[in-house]
């Protein structure tokens, strides 16, 4: 099973690219086609595959879009290496969306199905956005409902469900002729089987040769999170832009997180657009997380998922877009080829690398670096 976090977030992320984002003015997106190859390589995990998006307007009032996405996963992550065996997995995802423009109001609905051998995720969304105040302000609201099925390899009797809901609000404001700012707020609730059926926690065990043993992790059946973000984009005195964003996150599992990102976009010549950015992320651990519990069944809920630990990450990004010369096709207005590269460094503060030697609880702290590539072509019709 691809980690559930990956499966479900991909399902929702897929919707984001299909429907016009809520923090947009009420203008239907252009007809376009995108073909992308993505690759993530880090921490013993390689995930790559294609993503194809098609979007078409009808009668200047309706826009439909479809996305096909695929992950091919090869995992030998530290979790897998310490408690299981390396595996390969495939996940496919299909999405459909419809946008309807009525005056200054835009309605969007979408549905996504994500499927792999031991996890199925369904997600439906509804969003509405409205331009007000002389089109200086865009207000948006949205709701998502997800219903998932969790299965387990080699255990046909295992069948659990997850119910996911998201409520969101957005405000986009033109502040000056060069400055645009936005605010987004989102509440997400999950209910059901929220942990990974394969993952384990470790606890001190004098009877074990290494001094510790493993037991299955156990999460609460519910989780509610609140997140708020502020963003701004500024057109510089020459033709280039700066953008920044801050997000604060908190949830009922005790995780607090801060994200800061900065970026710079600069055209070069008539055909190139170059981008560079930096992103900083920091979070505290969930209340029921521990790298090493003092004994078996030490508390009601148990987690040793490094994504729930205390850690910081830094990301450097570079991107280049090249506008292709006319291909001579009447229906193709313009086309681009794009390459984006991101390098991410993860430093964990309370997750130890137990593939290394050391007394229980004194092994070196874990960390890894990841490379992310996105190569794609886009065409507008």
């Amino acid at each position: 099973m691809i980690p559930r976090r990956i499966a479900t977030t991909f399902a929702l992320a897929g919707l984001a690219l299909l429907a016009h984002g809520p923090a947009q003015s009420a203008v239907l997106p252009d007809d376009r086609a995108d073909v992308l190859y993505h690759r993530y390589d880090g921490g013993g995990v390689t995930i790559d595959g294609p993503s194809v998006l098609l979007r078409k307007k009808f009668a200047e009032k309706y826009s439909v879009s479809a996305n096909y996405y695929m992950d091919m996963v090869s995992s030998a992550s530290i979790d897998v290496m310490t408690t299981a065996s390396p595996y390969t997995e495939e996940r496919t995802q299909g999405s459909l969306a419809l946008d309807v423009l009525q005056g200054k109001t835009q309605y969007s609905v979408s549905y996504t199905l994500s499927d792999e051998s031991d996890y199925t995720a369904n997600t439906a969304t509804f969003d509405v956005s409205q331009d007000i105040f002389g089109d200086l302000t865009t207000v948006s609201f949205g709701f998502s409902q997800g219903w998932d099925e969790v299965r387990k390899r080699d255990d046909n009797a295992f069948n659990e469900t997850v119910d996911r809901r998201s409520y969101r609000f957005g405000l986009q404001q033109i502040v000056t002729p060069r400055l645009m700012a936005g605010l987004n707020y989102e509440v997400i609730t999950d209910e059901g089987f929220l942990n990974n059926p394969y993952r384990s926690v470790r606890y001190l065990d004098d009877s074990s040769a290494r001094g510790f043993s493993f037991q299955p992790e156990l999460y609460p059946q519910t989780r509610t999170s609140n997140s708020v973000s502020l963003n701004a984009r500024y057109y510089l005195p020459y033709r280039a832009s700066l953008h920044g964003e801050y997000r604060y996150f908190t949830d009922t599992w005790g995780i607090d997180a801060n994200t800061v990102s900065l970026g710079y976009t600069h055209p070069w010549g008539k055909r190139w657009i170059l981008e560079a950015g930096y992103r900083w992320y920091d979070q505290s651990a969930a209340d029921f997380y521990s790298d090493l519990f003092p004994r078996a069944d030490a508390q009601n809920f148990l987690a040793r998922d490094k994504e729930l630990s205390t850690f910081t990450s830094h990301m450097l990004s570079f991107g280049a877009t090249y506008e292709l010369p006319s291909l001579g096709w009447d229906r193709l207005r313009r086309s681009t080829i794009n390459l984006f590269y991101d390098h991410i460094i993860y430093d964990y503060a309370d997750f130890r690398d137990i593939t290394k030697e050391g007394a229980p609880g004194s092994e070196p702290l874990y960390g890894f670096e990841a490379d992310v590539f996105r190569l794609f072509v886009s065409g507008w019709f």
Binding site: T9, A13, G21, E217, N226, S241, F249, D251, E307
Partner: protein, 76 residues
């Protein structure tokens, strides 16, 4: 005490309503050409942006408020 609270509320409402009625859109349509420039577009490449959001949510505890339908469950 109750009277002063009502007075305060009345003043706030009066200020808010007068503020709304007197403020005009201060950036005129003909002053918005910079926002049409591709360098000011936050969602220029939806496929690529969506993928990167996923990369974050799959490996971080935080989720949501990305300005899109993404948000993720962060289940585990």
């Amino acid at each position: 005490m109750r009277t002063s609270c009502r007075l305060a509320l009345l003043l706030v409402l009066a200020a808010a309503s007068s503020g709304c009625s007197s403020v005009e859109p201060w950036v005129k349509p003909y002053e918005r050409q910079y926002f049409a420039d591709v360098v000011m577009s936050g969602e220029r490449d939806p496929v690529a942006g969506s993928y990167l959001n996923h990369v974050f949510e799959a490996r971080e505890g935080a989720r949501g408020a990305t300005g899109s339908h993404g948000g993720g469950c962060g289940c585990n």
